[in-house]
Each structure stands twice: as structure tokens, then as C-alpha cells.
Amino acid sequence: MVHQVLFIVFGLICVAGAINLLAQRHPINSALSLIVVMAALSLIYLLLGAEFVAAIQVIVYAGAIMVLFVFVIMLLNAGAEERTRGSRIALFVGVPGVVVLAGTVGWLLVSGSGKLGGVTIASSDFGETHNIARLLFRDFLLPFEITSVLILIAIMGAVVLGKREN
């Protein structure tokens, strides 16, 4: 019961943040809304017993990536969005399409919710760091190493692309 209430509260915060992201005109406001969403999501992860994931969500996503976003917004000093003639197709085709898709998926899920069962907060050692580490360095070692290479490439790419041409 408590879980459901908590879930609903945080879920509403998420959705509100997301809608605000869409509604704001200035990108900085959108960025801050996104940070709110991420924070709320982190709390939901805690509800799901994923402590490690919740932590790195805040540290990496909200603390690093979104900070990077905010830096770039401030660097470029982009102003509020102007109203220009945009793509009509995106409006008339994309929006209904997305709504339909979401609605379909949602309906399916609701209608099948009896069969799916429920989710509870797991036992406390479920999402512990050492369990994840065991998995990461044993079963998923190769992808782990490759992601480090990926980060290296991303660093190089960012440096190259960000250089000013003179």
C-alpha cells in the first residue's frame, strides 16, 4: 500500500517533469526539469531495490551528463526558442502516431496486468554493489572493457569536434 502511494507520487513527479520539459521554451528550464525527472527516477529505482543504480543515476546522469548539458547551454547562450515555420509532418503525423502507440501499449499492459503479477521491494542484498560487481567483472567483462574504449573514443571525438577551427 505504501509502495503504491510512493510509486504514484514519484511517478507523478516524473511525468510532471517530463511535461514541463516539453512545455518550457528556454532550454535551461528544460534541463532543470530533466534533472527533476532523473531525481524522481532515482527514487523509483530505490523502490525497486536497485541501490547501486539509483546512486549512479544521480552521480553520473544528473551530476555529470546534465551538468554538461547546462554548461553547453550557457556556453552557447542560446535564447528562448523562436516561433518559426517548422515541420508540419512532425506535428500532424508524429504526434498522433506516438499517442496511438503509447495508448496501445498502455491498453495492452492494463488488460494483461492480472497475468503479470506484481513487483515488491526485494531483499536487501539484491541490488548491492558487490553483486553487481561480481556480474560485471565475470559475466560481462568483455562489454565492460569495450565501454572503456568507447569512452576513450568519445573523449577524443569530443575534443576534435569541439576544437575551434583557425
Binding site: 515541420s87 509532418i89 512532425a90 503525423v93 508524429g94 502516431g97 502507440l101 496501445t104 501499449v105
Partner: protein
């Protein structure tokens, strides 16, 4: 025994001459071009003469003499060879074609000396000889048809020789198209022959007929159909009613062309074809009747039109149509050898007449209207005398050539069941008319006072030298005729010897040419009929009786039974008609020249109709040509070609373009639309997976 005469050389030699002159002649001097042309024509004549002499009856070589060079077409059971056929009939034809052709080549050297396109003329002339020789020497209908079409082509090329003149180009097209109509019928006839005989070779077809599988009582049957088709083809080529309309317009071509093609040789191809197919015609009495009627209508019809013409060449053109009608009539009463006899004498005197007219035109510097000539007798005496001989010959006055051949025909017509006294009377009347208009021409041209304009003729004449200026020169002549002759030396002068020599030779032939056909009641031996008799009987299996009701006058036996008084009476009547015509011409055009004016003004309506050739051309134009043009323009051109075909092709292009244009919108450069397409694609895939999940 047989001997290989290499008959294929005879047509080939002029072809080589045509090729040399046609391909290389542009760079030759005139002398070189004429040397090439004359050499090959003379060689062809020589070879033909040698071949004829070798197989002359009595030499021991069997006639018909057939040589096959190679097989041309083989299709199933049908095959057509390149084969050559020499019998008495083709002997006469080949000698006429090569001999008269050679004389006309000589004449042309002088006549065309100042014209542009000299090499082209001789190339076409030799090409014509090649096709004509193929036609007369072929041993099957298909090869004959090749020659048939080829002479039509050569005729088109030569009529439209001065191609920069609209009237000449149109005349060439008209000749070709009208001939094509006849050729279509000829083709149908050939298809019928293939269907029922399985072959187009003469010996195969005529041999099967001789074996007696067919009887003349078949009536409206297969043979009538074949015969009518062949006959219609002949009406096109030999300018009979209803397909004669091209021949008067063909006078747009140079005069030697008119002499060779439209008098002596090409137009006789139809007569030759009917004579060759006599076995088929003899089994189709109805068709023979129709041939006789058409020949009769044509002679009188054309003769009346010749009365009113004022252009010297047009008079001769209508005269040719009329004389061809006589030959057609002869074939229609199954007197084939009489028809061929007249063909031969006609070749001589008609070629002579045309060449003589050319000489006259050359002398007066390009004028062709007889009303502007006159009194030329003393100025061009040689031309005068040869034209006189020819005129007497065509009028049918003995002892010149035309009398014997015409009398032969008229006699046959009188006695034949297909002819009868009515048609005979029409024939005699036509003989009178022929004499009248020919002597009219004679008087108007050579007698009276000189009516020429004088010096200004030279100016216009000079300007007509090159075909490029022919249109300019033509504008100043009343009938718009081709100024195919212009020297403008200032004054009337006799033609050079190179033009006169062939005229003299032809004149001699016009005098003596008839003496090979003197009939028996005149105490002659009618050599030509006996000569042709083996051909005109069925190629008989020995002992076979020929069909009794026809060909009465082609055998050597029948004339004995006729009372000679009747023969003399008939002959005298035709001579009398000729003399009456001469008298009237003398009266109207020499003694009292004002009479024609008074008569034509009294009979104004009839005269106008005759002058405009009974409006036949206009009739054809309105009835056939205009609807066809309208059909072609509206239905075929705009409807089918532009609408359907262009529509399809262009439509395919436009459709591709349209589709491309629509698809191009996907590449708009706008990131959000790309995102939208991705979203849609993603949604579609998810939807599909859901559908799979739900329905499983």
C-alpha cells in the same frame, strides 16, 4: 540439249552501270558518266541479242529455256528461285527493252547534256533497265514482282527527277501510290496462286493448268478471282481505268523518261503480265470479259481527253493510255499475240513520238504549249520528217507499223465472243479520234506561222538550267510544266546528231516493224503470230486439246475459215476512220483554224469537262484522298500516335517523375520530419509485433 546462256548477266550489266554512276558518278565528267551508262546498256543489248539468236526456234534448244541461279526463299513447301525464263514472248520483250532502251540512252546523252544531276539521271535510267529486265526475264511471279515494284521505284525517281519542283515531286508520289494500289491486288493474286498451286514458278503453275485439272466452266471461281486480281494490278501499272491518273502527271519527268518508261517499256509490263498469265485468264471467261470492257473504256475515254490538251507531252500521254487500252482490249478477247504485236509497234512509234517531241521542245527552247508553236516544218526538217512517220504509224495508215497491229486487234475484237461489233465500233471510232488528235498535234506544231515569243524565250530557258531554278522558270509558263529543256541559243535550231540518230533508227522501225505481222488475207504470213503461237497455246502435254471456246484467233488454223471479204471490209473501215480523222484535223487546224474556237464556244460545257479530264482527279481527291487524309490526321495521328503512344511513353516518364517528386519530399533536410518518419516506422514495427503476439 540445253546450253547455259547466263541470262542473269542481262539484268546485271545495267545494275553495275547504275551502281558505278550512282556511287561514283558525282565526280565524273559528263562524258565519263554517259560512257559508263551506254557501255553497260549496249553490253546488255548485245548479250540479249546473242541469247535470242542462240535459242531462236530451229536451233535445237528447247523453249522455254529456264535457268535457275539459286534458291531465294524456302518456306515450308513453298520455294522461289532466282530463275530466268526465255521463250518467244520474253525474247520479244527483252529485245524491245534493251534495244529501245539503248537508243533512248543515246538520245539522253544529247538531251540532258545541260541539266544538273546528269550522273543521277543515268544511274536511275540504268537502274530502271535492271528492274525491267528482271521483270521480263523472271521465271516466277515473285521475281517478276520484284522487277514490277522496282520499275515503279525507278519511275518515281525519274518522274521526280527535278525534285525541287513541287509539281514534279507530287507527280512522282502520285505515280508510286497509284501503282501501289494495283500492286496490292497483284499480291493478293499471287497469294491465291500460292495457295492453290503451291508455287509461283511459271512452269509449275502453267504445267498444272495444262494437265487439265481445271475446266473453264468453273465460272466465278478461283481462276476468276486470280485473274481479276492480276488484272487490277495490270491496270495500275499499265494505266487503265481506274488507275490511269498517274500517267499524264508523269510527264513532269524529262522527255527521255516519258519515252522509255511511260511509252515503250514500263507501262507495257501489265500487258506482258497478262499475256504471260494467259493460261489463267483463259480459264476465267468473266475476267476476260471485264478486261475487254476496261480496255475498251480506256481507249475511248483517253482519246477524248487527248482532243482538248494543249501541252504536246500531255497529248502523247493520253495517246499512250489509249493505245494501252487497245492492248488491254486485245488481251481481253484472248488475242494475246495481237496485243504483244501492238506492244512492239507501239514501242517504236510512241518512243519516236516522245523523243521527237523532246526534239521539238529542245528546238524551241523549252516551250511545251502547242498553241505557241507553229511553222516549225522548215526550221527543223529532220525532226519534222521523223515525227511525220510516227504520226502516220500511230494513226494506223498502211503500210506503216501501226496499221497492221491495230487491224489485227480490231479484227480479233470483231470475231470474238468477248468483243463483238459494238466494241469493235468503239475501237474504230477511237482509231479515228487517235488519228484526229495526232494530226492535230502535227498541224499545230509544224504548220502555220511561228507563234513563239522570240528572244524572251531564251531568258526563261536559261534560268531553267539547273533544277534549283526550275521553279522560277516554271512560273512563267502557262501550265507550269517542267522546263526540262533549255538552251536558249536564241532561235529555233535543229537537234544535234546524237539526238537525231536514234530518231532515225526508230523511224525506220516504225515503218518496217509492222511487216512481221501482215495477216494472211493480205498475202502475208503473220510471222509474229506464228512465232508466239507455241507460247500462247497451253504448254501442252502432247495431244491435249486446248479449251475450245477461247483463243480462236491465236491458233494458226482458224483464219482459213473466215471469208476474206469480211477481213478486207474490216481493214478498210479502220483505214477510212484514220483518213477521216486526218481530214478533220486538216480542216480544223490548217485550212480554217477559226473553226475549233467556234465549236468549243458552242459546246462550252462539254469542252470544259473534257479539258479538265472529266474532273476524275478532283473526284478521286474528294472521294478517296481527302477522307483518307482526314482519317490519318484525326484518328491515326492525333488519336493513336499522339494520344495513345505518346501518351503512354510520356505518361510513363511523367509518372516516374511524379513518383520521384513525391518520394523526394522524404529528403527534406528537415531533421524533425526524419524523426517523424523514424517514429512512424518504429510504431509500425511495434504494432506488428503486438499484432503477432495477440493473434498467436
Amino acid at each position: 540439249m540445253t546450253k547455259n546462256l547466263n541470262l542473269w548477266v542481262i539484268p546485271l550489266l545495267p545494275l553495275i552501270g547504275a551502281a558505278i554512276n550512282g556511287l561514283l558518278g558525282r565526280r565524273f565528267k559528263n562524258a565519263m558518266v554517259s560512257a559508263v551508262a551506254l557501255l553497260f546498256t549496249a553490253a546488255s543489248f548485245g548479250w540479249a541479242a546473242w541469247a535470242v539468236w542462240t535459242v531462236w526456234p530451229g536451233s535445237g534448244i528447247a523453249l522455254p529455256h529456264i535457268e535457275t541461279l539459286a534458291t531465294w526463299i524456302t518456306a515450308g513447301t513453298f520455294s522461289a528461285p532466282f530463275g530466268f525464263y526465255l521463250d518467244q514472248l520474253s525474247m520479244i520483250m527483252v529485245l524491245i527493252v534493251t534495244g529501245v532502251g539503248f537508243l533512248i540512252h543515246i538520245y539522253s546523252v544529247g538531251y540532258m547534256a545541260h541539266e544538273g544531276g546528269y550522273y543521277r539521271f543515268f544511274a536511275y535510267l540504268n537502274l530502271f533497265m535492271f528492274f525491267m529486265l528482271t521483270l521480263v526475264l523472271a521465271n516466277n511471279y515473285l521475281l517478276m514482282f520484284v522487277g514490277w515494284e522496282g520499275v515503279g521505284l525507278a519511275s518515281y525517281l525519274l518522274i521526280g527527277f527535278f525534285f525541287l519542283k513541287d509539281s514534279a515531286a507530287d507527280a512522282g508520289k502520285k505515280a508510286f501510290i497509284v501503282n501501289r494500289i494495283g500492286d496490292f491486288a497483284f499480291l493478293i493474286g499471287m497469294f491465291l496462286i500460292i495457295q492453290h498451286f503451291g508455287s509461283l514458278n511459271y512452269d509449275a503453275v502453267f504445267g498444272k493448268i495444262a494437265e487439265g485439272h481445271f475446266t473453264p466452266e468453273a465460272g466465278w471461281g478461283l481462276f476468276t478471282a486470280i485473274a481479276l486480281c492480276l488484272m487490277f494490278g495490270a491496270t495500275g501499272k499499265s494505266a487503265q481505268v481506274p488507275l490511269y491518273v498517274w500517267l499524264p502527271d508523269a510527264m513532269e519527268g524529262p522527255t527521255p523518261v516519258s519515252a522509255l518508261i511511260h511509252a515503250a517499256t514500263m507501262v507495257t509490263a501489265g500487258i506482258y503480265m497478262i499475256a504471260r498469265s494467259h493460261a489463267i485468264f483463259n480459264l476465267a471467261p468473266h475476267a476476260l470479259q471485264i478486261v475487254a470492257i476496261i480496255g475498251c473504256i480506256t481507249t475511248i475515254f483517253a482519246a477524248t481527253m487527248g482532243l482538248a490538251q494543249t501541252d504536246i507531252k500531255r497529248v502523247l500521254a493520253y495517246s499512250t493510255v489509249s493505245q494501252l487500252g487497245y492492248m488491254f482490249l486485245a488481251c481481253g478477247v484472248a488475242a494475246y499475240s495481237a496485243g504483244i504485236f501492238h506492244l512492239m509497234t507501239h514501242a517504236f512509234f510512241k518512243a519516236l513520238l516522245f523523243l521527237g517531241a523532246g526534239s521539238v521542245i529542245h528546238a524551241v527552247g523549252g516551250e511545251q504549249d502547242m498553241r505557241r508553236m507553229g511553222g516549225l516544218r522548215k526550221l527543223i526538217p529532220w525532226t519534222f520528217w521523223v515525227v511525220t512517220i510516227a504520226t502516220i504509224a500511230i494513226a494506223g495508215i498502211p503500210p506503216f507499223a501501226g496499221f497492221f497491229s491495230k487491224d489485227e486487234i480490231l479484227g480479233a475484237v470483231f470475231h470474238s465472243p468477248y468483243g463483238g461489233p459494238v466494241i469493235w465500233a468503239i475501237g474504230v471510232l477511237t482509231a479515228g479520234l487517235t488519228s484526229f488528235y495526232m494530226f492535230r498535234l502535227w498541224f499545230m506544231t509544224f504548220f502555220g506561222e511561228l507563234k513563239l515569243g522570240g528572244v524572251d524565250v531564251g531568258e526563261e530557258a536559261h534560268s531553267a538550267h539547273a533544277p534549283a531554278q526550275a521553279a522560277h522558270g516554271a512560273a512563267s509558263h502557262s501550265h507550269g510544266h517542267a522546263d526540262d529543256e533549255a538552251h536558249g541559243h536564241g532561235g529555233v535550231h535543229e537537234s544535234p546528231w546524237i539526238m537525231l540518230a536514234p530518231l532515225v533508227i526508230l523511224a525506220v522501225l516504225s515503218v518496217v516493224g509492222g511487216w512481221v505481222g501482215v495477216p494472211q488475207f493480205m498475202r502475208g504470213h503473220n510471222e509474229i503470230e506464228h512465232f508466239l503461237a507455241p507460247v500462247m497455246e497451253s504448254p501442252a502435254v502432247a495431244g491435249e486439246q486446248p479449251a475450245p471456246t477461247v483463243r480462236v484467233l491465236d491458233t494458226t488454223n482458224a483464219p482459213e475459215e473466215k471469208p476474206t471479204n469480211e477481213e478486207w471490209l474490216l481493214a478498210d473501215t479502220s483505214v477510212a476512220a484514220a483518213l477521216i480523222g486526218l481530214f478533220f484535223a486538216y480542216l480544223f487546224y490548217y485550212k480554217r483554224p477559226e473553226l475549233p474556237e467556234r465549236i468549243t464556244s458552242k459546246m462550252h460545257g462539254i469542252y470544259t469537262m473534257v479539258l479538265h479530264k472529266y474532273y476524275v482527279d478532283e473526284g478521286y481527291g474528294a472521294l478517296l484522298v481527302k477522307p483518307l487524309l482526314a482519317l490519318s490526321t484525326v484518328v491515326l495521328w492525333r488519336g493513336v500516335d499522339q494520344g495513345v503512344i505518346d501518351g503512354l511513353v510520356n505518361g510513363a516518364g511523367t509518372a516516374s517523375q511524379g513518383v520521384g517528386n513525391e518520394l523526394r519530399r522524404m529528403q527534406s533536410g528537415n531533421i524533425r520530419s526524419y524523426a517523424a518518419w523514424v517514429a512512424i516506422g518504429g510504431a509500425a514495427i511495434v504494432g506488428y509485433m503486438i499484432w503477432l503476439g495477440v493473434t498467436r
